[in-house]
Amino acid sequence: MSFYIPIGPQHPVHPEPLLMKFKVEGEQVIDVEINVSYTHRGIEKGLEYRDYMKGIFLAERICGICNAAHTLCYVQNIEQLLNKEVPPRAKYLRLIVEELSRIHSHLLWLGLAAHQIGFETLFMYVWRDRERVLDLLEMITGNRVVTSYNTIGGVRRNITPEMEQKIRKGLDYLEKRTKYFKKVVMEEPTVLVRTQNVGILKPREAIELFAVGPVLRASSIKHDVRADDPYAAHDEVPFNVITYDTCDVYARILVRIDEVLECINMIRYSLDHLPSGKYRIRLPVVIKPPPGESVSRVEAPRGDLLHYVKSDGSDKPYRYKVRTPTLANIPSTARMLTSRGDYIVYIADIPIIFGSVDPCLCCTGRVMFVDVEKGKSWVWTYNELVKYSRERFERHD
């Protein structure tokens, strides 16, 4: 006997609202349907109403955690349209802040993944150490999470030699702690039993369904935008592309932890080889790029991020398109969550499988102004709200 379970839109496992309707039989999941339309905010249309400088701030708020990646992609796009090169010091500084925010995102995700399998102690320890990264980001950019560091033509602030010393000390601490967490994940039997052979995505399926990011790399496909299509200073700073071949949740956890260790090495290399000079070229505040199109790609913490801009010569973009990595990972997620043949998915596995994809749904549904009242506004009483929600619930079934 099977029945439908809705996970969402409000549920303790989701940091953002989304609806997943699961068809279950006993404790096994048979089918899933994903609906991501709850966090529509109308950003693509909104960018068409703002000139290029103001658009940076809107692009930053597409996602709170990947904001460094979004601004980097946006300003790279505009610079490609204008055909201008940023100074070398700016490229290295952009890389440092981008990698620091990648460390932040992966540590945050590790804590959430531990929370989703019920391992509260690891969650508390990881989030305590994440505060160190936030302190470093605050020292460099002035903000803890939404960094506002990139701008068209370079970066907004410089880093001084005292800051470099503090960054190095912070990195040593983070490296020690990350190695400890890797040991915990690899040796703790309850973690191993919950994450191995769970949420399997074979390499052939990963390519067919266009998975991106750590999900792709945990299925042993070696693809990383920083290596295949280098931007900022990534063609000069050496690093390894991390892949694992067990294709399950355990591999994804290890890919992300190893990426944190790689980021720490990259930041150390760039601090050692930081070129001197200007960190910003001055451009006029109102920018009018020549008509044309441009595509820009960046490796956000969650995967492959693509921005496309089409300009018609005015000071506002004619069309701006954002394709975020979580949207690309949705077909793979739906594949991982259905049981077929010998591969069984239990309800208890749903949070960790879904969490291993590292969903950031405010990035995903971002395309239209929710036209709230169509011109008029009214206030609902409590009874009307209850009646409306009951009707919607009955219609869903």
Binding site: F119, T121, Y125, E188, T190, Y346, P351
Partner: protein
């Protein structure tokens, strides 16, 4: 007549209901504070000195919240289950030997009575989940029954080891036969380990809090309860914690026994009993902090592959030695 009155005062005040109520709230505070310290946090801090009144504040807050009964739920079962859960656990505390070698109530074979009523509390969890007609509650109740199949047998077998060592099914005799040496310091060590793991599963704590898994099914079988009913469930759960820690202290650590000064016997016995059951509580809290939650099918495999054979071995060892 005076006898009956005396017994009633014992039952209600000390070491009966009022004392048990205060002690169970204290145990919840110890559990939360120690768990927080293991996780590098502070735990309860503001209600009372060092947050010691926090469990009481939570209980009073829950009593004042709105009590909603879902429309499709079975009203009779829904309302009665929390009351029964609380009442059965409270009744069983009268059997614990707190201030002497026997509890307020004591009769031949009361250990069997104890274990039988504990089974009823587990079945009440299933009833609570099924009575609130909600998908998450149904899944939670299902998991509770599966987990019950897992832990009940090792729990009983570890108690059987103690029964064989002491040769009696009465709690009073078990306590008295430990006056030379506590059972844990002998061949019953293995039985103690199995008992602690089985109790962790019975109390639905990590790594076995599967029926109530917050991230997956939003509080499981408790999801529809609110207000006074939830307060009764929570308090009943605290009393069950006290009960099982106390039972462990009685069976394995010698209960209230220890060096006494004549005249202060009641106070010292209570003190020893409390300290020993707090030791077991601290062991349970440490287990809660160092593991992740496992799946229900993995729990069954673990229990039938490892726990039950271990408990059978401990029974054999004890039979050979005694």
């Amino acid at each position: 007549m005076i006898e009956v009155l005396y017994k009633i005062i014992q039952m209600i005040l000390f070491p009966g209901f009022a004392f048990i109520g205060v002690l169970s709230l204290l145990y919840e505070w110890i559990d939360r504070k120690f768990y927080a310290k293991l996780q590098n946090r502070v735990g309860p801090l503001y209600a009372g000195p060092h947050g010691i009144l926090q469990p009481l504040a939570d209980f009073i807050k829950l009593l004042s919240k709105e009590d909603i009964i879902p429309e499709g739920a079975d009203k009779f079962l829904f309302t009665l289950t929390p009351i029964f859960f609380f009442a059965v656990n409270l009744l069983l505390t009268l059997l614990l030997p707190i201030c002497g070698t026997s509890g307020v109530i004591s009769f031949t074979g009361d250990l069997i009575f104890f274990v039988a009523l504990l089974t009823i509390t587990s079945i009440l969890v299933y009833t609570a989940g099924v009575a609130s007609v909600n998908r998450f509650a149904t899944i939670g109740a299902e998991r509770a029954v599966l987990q019950f199949i897992g832990y009940e047998i090792p729990f009983m077998l570890s108690i059987v080891s103690v029964v064989i060592s002491s040769g009696s099914l009465t709690i009073k005799n078990i306590v008295e036969s430990q006056s030379n040496m506590w059972y844990i310091l002998g061949p019953n060590l293995l039985a103690f380990a199995v008992y602690v793991i089985a109790v962790q599963a019975e109390l639905e704590r990590i790594p076995f809090d599967i029926p109530e898994a917050e991230q997956e099914i939003v509080a499981g079988w408790l999801v529809e309860y609110s207000g006074k009913k939830l307060a009764l469930f929570r308090l009943g759960r605290d009393i069950e914690t006290l009960l099982l820690c106390g039972l462990g202290a009685t069976l394995f650590l010698g209960g209230p026994l220890g060096p006494v000064i004549p005249g202060l016997e009641i106070i010292l016995h209570t003190l020893y009993f409390t300290i020993k059951s707090i030791i077991i509580l601290l062991i349970l809290t440490t287990l809660k902090a160092i593991f992740a939650r496992i799946r229900v099918d993995q729990m069954l495999v673990f229990s039938w592959k490892y726990l039950i054979p271990l408990s059978l071995i401990s029974v054999l060892i004890v039979r050979v030695v005694f």
